[in-house]
Amino acid sequence: MLKIQSLAVIISLIICTITYSQTTVNPDISVIGDMRVSIHDQKGTDDYSKLDLALHEIEIAANGYLNPFTRADVFLAIHGPEASIEIEEAYMTIVRGLPLGLQMKAGQYLLDFGKINTQHPHQWSWIERPLVYQVMFGNDGLRDVSLNFSGQYPLGKSALNLSANLMRGHIGGHHHNDEGNEVVEEEEARPDLGICMRSSIFTMLSKFTAFDFGISTLRGEVDPNENHYATMTAIDFKLKWRPDSYRSLTFIGEALQNRRTVDDEDSPSGSKDITSYGGFFAMDYQFRKRWDSGVFVDYTQGVNDSDENQTGYGIFAGFALVEETTRFGLLLRRDDNLENVQWNTALLQILWSLGPHKPHKF
């Protein structure tokens, strides 16, 4: 059934594209494939020490202008051969024409909370979404149906970015099951609308060195039945030195604080406030045009329990045959959880990109 639905969506997309192209300019269509070969030694799991081949994700993107002022971007994702298509992002952006130099974005999209949440995983040399994002927001990071206004203003020789999102309020719990299908938690009651804001300063420290520092915060209802709210705050930075297209050195890091009210049977009020933390840091060194390698450290406490925690660290290396069109990534990581269970993972990522995928921003 899911396959039929997926097929129907793809056929509709192609028909729409062809019909559209007959009347106006065709949007850019691109497809990114992410296949993974992995093995791990986490005891007690079904795939302990078994080599696994997985079609981790196929991303289909359609991007283009609707008119001189507005563009639309749609990203569909399929997580595995048995999975249905899910809308990763689908939004329109008024890019120019609004007062005060504002841009408006509306639809479902990855919110600009922290530095990497808006990025798609194929942009990361360290391959996997940091633990803190997986635990706090789910497998696909923080995304929601939202309305965004953002502005970019000069601040001396720097650029100040301000962004505010009004969210539907669903700030976590987006996960995939073993088949790769999206698991949507049923809402017994509608959560209140949430807000998410980010401000960041970008500056060129030298001709070849760029630095970005951001602060983000969000507040939303996490349990409408119990009227429980969460407030999350993050700081992030990215420092990149890139003297030419053969060498670059990037440092990137984020730290996140999660404060929320959770159920507590021992408490007279039936609830308690908890504060938990997480963060990650990565260093990526591109030493040849097509080669890069680096290290990362990953840490998170539980979303509802600060006593739960998980730590990960590892090394990665990548070889891009021709930019992003074909890339091989290798990740060796070690994880350690609260029960002092440790396991190692080796993962080979084979990434390919078909079509006019646009250059990435800083």
Binding site: R96, L102, Q152, A159, T203, V322, K358, P359, K361, F362
Partner: protein
């Protein structure tokens, strides 16, 4: 008396400020378009560019400070022909609704326009033709006309000023082209190998024969088998010059040179790409002089 002086000083500074504000603000993708824009706009424009002259114009990472620069601009000058696709990110990020975008490739007689269906198996090929058109000085005139038109539309009251500067630029460029052709006479028919296919317009202008590239396909890193074939070809055709754009690595060209009689020379394809190249005219002075000097050296 003191108050009078303050008022006069205030008025003068207001006038100066107004005249600065009145300047057309122009941002271009590359330093070459910026150099031509300066020749046309002279005192009435402020010109900035995005891609550093020593950088590869195919790959620029869009950053917020560039978007801020474009947000204040009246005109953006694009190379076009898919070379500066990254400019779209910067232009969109600028949120500038008044920005006039000028694609300077519009009037160019394009070279190497594919006649069959283009796909990625041909490398980083441009479906609209080779985009390094500013390297034929005759195309400088076409670019300058587009820029003068854009300046005249955006600042109609100075139409005569821009047209006069355009005429002066055209006259000087035509005269220089004749000079360069005489100076480059010795280069006619010489066989050269370049790293990237950046030089068909330059080769066409000065009758050079570009017989091969270090890249096996545009934008693709050299492979051992391609290098081996290239060395054989260079020996067979007695190629004496390997031209390298400064933003490419030097190891492979040096390896090839060491196995042949060819010499590697840095050929900056942009204004500002080497010391002494301050203007569009300097660029061709530099390139022709450098090629001539190396040709003489190889004949000794």
């Amino acid at each position: 008396m003191k108050l009078y002086r303050i008022i006069v000083a205030g008025l003068i500074s207001c006038l100066i400020t107004t005249s600065i504000i009145a300047k057309l603000k122009v941002v271009s993708s590359t330093s070459d378009l910026a150099a031509i824009a300066r020749e046309i706009g002279v005192d009435l424009v402020e010109v900035d560019y995005i891609c550093p002259p020593e950088g590869n114009p195919h790959f620029v990472e869009a950053v917020p400070t560039q978007m801020i620069a474009v947000s204040r601009a009246d005109i953006y000058l694009k190379i076009g022909m898919e070379l500066d696709q990254w400019a779209d990110n910067i232009i969109d990020g600028s949120r500038n609704r008044h920005l006039k975008i000028v694609d300077c490739s519009q009037g160019i007689d394009r070279l190497e326009v594919p006649t069959t269906k283009v796909n990625a198996s041909l490398g980083d090929i441009h479906a609209q033709g080779n985009p390094h058109y500013w390297l034929n000085p005759a195309n400088g005139i076409i670019i300058a006309r587009d820029i003068a038109d854009a300046f005249s539309q955006a600042d109609a009251q100075n139409y005569n000023y821009y047209q006069e500067n355009l005429n002066n630029f055209e006259e000087k460029l035509r005269s220089k082209i004749e000079e360069w052709k005489i100076e480059a006479a010795s280069l006619k028919g010489i066989k050269i190998v370049t790293y990237h296919n950046s030089w068909p317009y330059f080769a066409s202008a000065f009758s050079l024969d570009v017989v091969g590239f270090i890249e096996p396909f545009p934008g693709i890193e050299p492979t051992p088998s391609h290098i081996a074939n290239l060395i054989e070809m260079i020996k067979e055709m007695d190629v004496r010059i390997i031209g390298k754009e400064p933003y490419f690595e030097g190891r492979t060209p040096r390896l090839i040179a060491s196995a042949t009689k060819a010499a590697v020379i840095d050929l900056p394809p942009s204004v500002g790409g080497a010391k002494g190249i301050e203007t569009y005219f300097d660029l061709f002075d530099f390139l022709i002089s450098k090629l001539n000097n190396n040709l003489k050296a190889s004949e000794l």
